[in-house]
């Protein structure tokens, strides 16, 4: 079992990233808290020795995405929140950002991860492929299609 200090450091380091992933998938702050708790307990109990901080972060992201998928599959999950309600919950989101966030959250689930990991976390397509366990070409295709969809929604601006 990992030390309390180690787990608390990981909470400080990764809870932002995890919360974003949870909101992307579950659209619920309450569920995000549950998922973060589950993932950190798994992290605490895990014996995996990470080669680097990057390796550790990739593990956290993968486990969080899987936990979100499991919850979505769960028969008992009934908490769903309207997008506008969710965006309003976050005070720090400006009206312009909320428009983008809404656009991203409206994307089909398969595109959300690649957009988040590429544009926010700064991962390359091969890195995303490794984290998500997908083919690199598939990731490229998902990225292209997601960009196209966002462009249509947000008014044709170029995505870098």
């Amino acid at each position: 079992m990992r030390s309390e200090i180690g787990v608390n450091n990981a909470i400080k380091l990764y809870s932002d990233t995890m919360r974003r992933i949870c909101i992307l998938h579950l659209k619920s702050y309450h569920d995000a808290e549950d998922i973060c708790q589950t993932v950190f307990i798994k992290y605490m109990c895990s014996d995996i020795e990470f080669e680097s901080a990057e390796h550790e972060k990739a593990w956290i992201i993968r486990v969080t995405i899987n936990a979100c998928k499991d919850l979505l599959k769960s028969f008992f999950r009934s908490r769903t929140v309207n997008l506008n309600e969710l965006i309003c919950e976050s005070d720090s989101v400006s009206s312009q950002s909320s428009e983008v966030l809404e656009a991203v959250l409206s994307l089909p689930p398969k595109y959300k991860n690649v957009i988040h990991l590429h544009y926010y976390e700064g991962y390359t397509a091969p890195e995303i492929a490794e984290i998500l366990g997908k083919n690199v070409n598939t990731v490229y295709t998902l990225l292209t299609r997601a960009k196209k969809l966002l462009k249509e929604t947000l008014g044709g601006e170029e995505l870098a």
């Binding site: 787990v7 974003r20 605490m44 720090s92 983008v100 544009y119």
Partner: protein
């Protein structure tokens, strides 16, 4: 656009309260897991202790339960309890002479052959054996182990002309101890009693095995002279399988 997406996601953050809540919940879960681990370990340790205890008890029972008795009788009467592993696990004397011998020699945990050799070679025992001329070794027990011990003992003592070895299945010998006699001596008493019903345990108690056997022979001779055929049948009361040297 890159910046717009980044800004949009920046709005979703885990504030300090969220992190603290997480830390508290994870810490709480840590203590639960630790407690569960402790109980699991405690249960496992208890189960292991119980298993060891049970195995120990079973082992103790198997080792220390005699399945065969070797009654060694001259004048001193000594009984050796033999377990299923052919080792001596109990030694009991039935008269003062026997008591003296038992106290002078350590036979516990020895193989029955070694124990009998050691017992017969003691000065006290050989003294009686010489004066009486014959040592009676009687194996008691109606089981496979007893058969093996009886055969082994007969084979082991075959070269000794001063030893008579037999295997008895007589169930009446279970009353021997309550009458203060060894099983070997009690069987000889029963044999004598079958010929001469007036004989009592007290009369036999102080007799040597040789003397009891002589009385049996004498009575037997008288019976033949008086031609009492039914007493010949009584004489078979002891259903011992006799083998070895001597008679």
């Amino acid at each position: 656009m890159h910046n717009r997406i980044k800004n949009a996601f920046d709005g979703i953050q885990a504030d300090e309260a969220f992190e603290k809540k997480l830390m508290t919940k994870v810490a709480k879960r840590r203590s639960t897991i630790k407690a569960a681990g402790f109980y699991r370990k405690a249960i496992a340790a208890t189960a292991t202790c119980l298993l060891v205890l049970c195995l120990g008890l079973v082992g103790y029972y198997l080792y220390f339960t005699p399945v065969t008795v070797i009654s060694v009788d001259v004048n001193p009467s000594v009984e050796l309890g033999i377990n299923r592993f052919d080792n001596v696990v109990s030694i009991e004397a039935f008269n003062d002479e026997g008591e003296k011998i038992v106290n002078s020699v350590k036979l516990q945990h020895l193989n029955y052959k070694d124990a009998v050799d050691k017992l017969l070679d003691t000065t006290d025992f050989s003294k009686y054996a010489e004066s009486e001329g014959l040592v009676y070794l009687t194996v008691f027990g109606d089981n496979k182990e007893s058969d093996i011990v009886a055969e082994g003992l007969a084979e082991h003592t075959r070269s000794r002309s001063d030893v008579h070895c037999s295997h008895s299945l007589n169930k009446e010998t279970k009353n021997a101890h309550s009458n203060g006699l060894s099983m070997g001596k009690y069987e000889a008493y029963l044999e004598l009693k079958s010929i001469n019903p007036n004989v009592t345990v007290d009369e036999v108690k102080d007799l040597t095995m040789r003397q009891i056997k002589d009385r049996i022979r004498e009575n037997d001779k008288d019976d033949f002279t008086e031609e009492l055929p039914e007493q010949n049948v009584d004489r078979k009361e002891s259903k011992g399988q006799h083998h070895g040297n001597g008679h």
